[in-house]
């Protein structure tokens, strides 16, 4: 009786998610075996041809490389920067709340829109970044939007601007959760500041930082908005999995082939998602333990 009532509370949500999440997932697999096109019309079964194309496609391998490179670099820089900022912001001072709130704003902003704006800042000709660099004495400032070595870096830079605050926020929580008396004990034990950092601060923050990195990584693997805004979907040095999917499905109008690509992407994402959900569950139970 009680249980039936409990199910009544959760079933609308579960149904909703099954219809609009699970069903598309399954149909994605089905679509992957067809040659259907964006413009509709007739389609036929093509067996595993789409899938074999995905695996033989150098574009796909390149997109995987770009996506992974982007994710690793962006998350690492964000983590380091966020943690350093958290160390600086950890102690109380006047106006801390205000400045912290200010620092956190970029992560709440719409990436698609801010990407367009950053594109404006990056412009080699009239962009303010290069104007400042030029005024600062750099005669040939870097070409953020056209130099193949810098294009991905430009996307990383905007991602870092947007998401370092996220790492800052989580790092602050990590630092705040370390009991003060551990630092006192270490002081009594004559540990140097470096040893305190290496043996106490870092390892005790590690679980939260790991969680933060995982959460960001799942986001970064989906990177789409910024790349679309800064270089467009069809640039060899910035094509990520998501923009490749866009290219195949919308520009090339090959829905069936795109679905096959999507399936392969999904396998990767689901593997990662499982890791993240596990980590979150661990965090939740660890926190519950602390509360008791």
């Amino acid at each position: 009786m009680r249980h039936r009532l409990g199910w009544a509370f959760v079933i609308p949500t579960l149904l909703f998610l099954i219809i609009f999440n699970v069903f598309p997932l399954i149909s994605s697999v089905v679509l992957g075996f067809t040659n259907s096109e964006l413009t509709g019309g007739s389609w036929e079964w093509v067996g595993g041809r789409n899938f074999s194309r995905v695996f033989n496609d150098p574009k796909y391998a390149a997109a995987v490389r770009t996506t992974v490179l982007f994710t690793v670099v962006a998350v690492a820089v964000e983590l380091a920067l966020g943690f350093i900022l958290a160390l600086a912001l950890h102690r109380d001072f006047r106006g801390k709340t205000a400045i912290l709130t200010l620092l956190l704003i970029p992560m709440m902003l719409p990436p698609a829109v801010m990407g367009i704006y950053w594109n404006f800042l990056f412009d080699g000709d009239y962009g303010v970044i290069n104007q400042v660099l030029h005024a600062g004495g750099l005669l040939a400032p870097p070409q953020w939007r056209t130099d193949p070595g810098l294009k991905l870096l430009a996307v990383v830079a905007v991602d870092v601007w947007m998401w370092s605050p996220f790492m800052l926020l989580i790092s602050l929580a990590g630092l705040g959760s370390i009991p003060k008396h551990l630092y006192e004990a270490a002081e009594i034990d004559r540990a140097s500041r470096w040893m305190v950092f290496r043996r106490i601060t870092l390892p005790l923050c590690a679980p939260l930082l790991g969680l933060a990195a995982l959460l960001r990584a799942t986001d970064a693997l989906k990177q789409f908005d910024l790349v679309m805004a800064i270089t467009g979907p069809n640039d060899a040095s910035t094509q990520t999995l998501s923009t490749l999917l866009y290219q195949v499905i919308f520009s090339n109008q090959r829905v069936g082939l795109g679905a096959a690509y999507a399936c392969v992407v999904l396998v990767l994402v689901i593997a990662l998602a499982i890791g993240v959900t596990r980590a979150l569950a661990r965090m939740r139970s660890a926190n519950a333990g602390q509360a008791v």
Binding site: H181, L182, E184, E187, I188, R190, A191, S192, I200, L204
Partner: protein
């Protein structure tokens, strides 16, 4: 020989609250000194100033002949045992014990040897590979003690190390600390709010109240010769009974005309109002209505304690506690006469509370 000297050590916090008002204290080498007092009396702050975890805002601290007032904890050669253990939660017991050695650069091999030594001494050898959260509270405090021991500091500082443990563990661990201290002859400053613990462990007890030292002395002296009403009440369980009286040539006279005590000899002491202090064990309970000396009171509560009883009685608004043999029974509401033993009577000034 004085090993630790506190000279007018004071602490005023940034917000103006004064935690410690100029404390003077001299501790001899190898001595076990307990700082005793109610919470908020400044005893922990004093201890933390000795450790260097808190900066003294006045006075000076001398340790082994050296002024250490402004030195960081790492340069004072002290061991500190925290109330909440302060074990590093992500390190095993072994790594926790090795931590202070690692910090001062003791080579790896020697670390292992010393960790094993100290673990054996403290009795945590089987726990070396465990993480702190897998241990009981008592074991955690044992490890914490071992960690304070391992570097062989010349001064042990303990901040209510037994405060969070349950009674049985508390007693055995208390004895253990005592034994370790005696064996290593480490000078020890120990903070507690539990007067029994203080009596049990201390060579000397320092009673503190409101940021000041009220009395320093051996446990016996503190118990038997309290120098103030505060000390008299705080030490002993339950604390001393206080009865307002007037001292006349005949003895101690109560408001209702009865006497608490009749002098047999002429006294040259100052006469006038006093506060009479009597510990519960020095109060005899009599049902003999003809008794001329003593307070008339009504029994309000009888607490059975196993080997004795604590009889609470009300004498016209004055609540008194007497310790009586377990066999002696009194009905609630019964009229009794509480007769103090002459030997147990202490007199205090009604205004300053100082012993007379």
């Amino acid at each position: 020989m004085t090993f630790l000297a506190l000279n007018a050590v004071a602490k005023t916090y940034a917000d103006g609250t004064i935690a410690v008002h100029g404390v003077d204290l001299a501790v001899d080498e190898g001595e076990f000194v307990v700082l005793l007092g109610p919470s908020g009396c400044g005893k922990t702050t004093t201890l933390r100033m000795v450790a260097g975890l808190e900066r003294a805002t006045g006075g000076s601290i001398q340790l082994a002949g050296k002024i250490v007032t402004d030195l960081p904890p790492s340069q004072r050669d002290v061991g500190f045992v925290f109330q909440f253990y302060a074990l590093y939660p992500h390190l095993t017991v072994r790594d926790n014990l090795a931590f202070p050695l690692e910090a001062v650069g003791v080579p790896w091999r020697e670390r292992a040897v010393r960790v094993n030594e100290v673990a054996a001494a403290v009795g945590v050898t089987e726990l070396l590979s465990a993480l702190p959260r897998q241990l009981s509270g008592g074991d955690q405090q044992r490890v914490s003690l071992a960690r304070a021991l391992i570097r062989r500091p010349r001064l042990w500082l303990m901040d209510e190390p037994l405060g969070t443990l349950d009674a049985a563990v508390r007693a055995s661990l208390g004895a253990f600390i005592h034994e370790q201290q005696r064996r290593h002859r480490v000078t020890t400053l120990f903070v507690t709010h539990d007067q029994e613990e203080a009596m049990q462990l201390a060579d000397r007890v320092v009673v503190m109240e409101a940021g000041r030292i009220r009395q320093v002395g051996t446990p016996t002296a503190i118990h038997d010769a309290p120098r103030s009403r505060f000390v008299a009440h705080f030490v002993g369980s339950p604390g001393m009974n206080f009865i307002p009286a007037t001292r006349t040539a005949q003895g101690l006279c109560l408001a209702d005309g009865r006497h608490l005590m009749i002098h047999n000899a002429a006294s040259t002491d100052v006469l006038g109002p006093v506060i009479v202090g009597v510990r519960p064990q020095w109060l005899q309970v009599s049902t003999d209505e003809s008794e001329k000396v003593g307070l008339v009171a009504t029994v309000v509560l009888d607490e059975y304690q196993g080997d004795h009883r604590l009889l609470h009685a009300d004498a016209e608004g004055l609540r008194l506690v007497a310790r009586i043999p377990a066999t002696q029974r009194h009905a609630l509401g019964a009229r009794v006469i509480l007769v103090p033993h002459a030997e147990g009577i202490r007199l205090f000034d009604p205004h300053s509370g100082a012993a007379l």
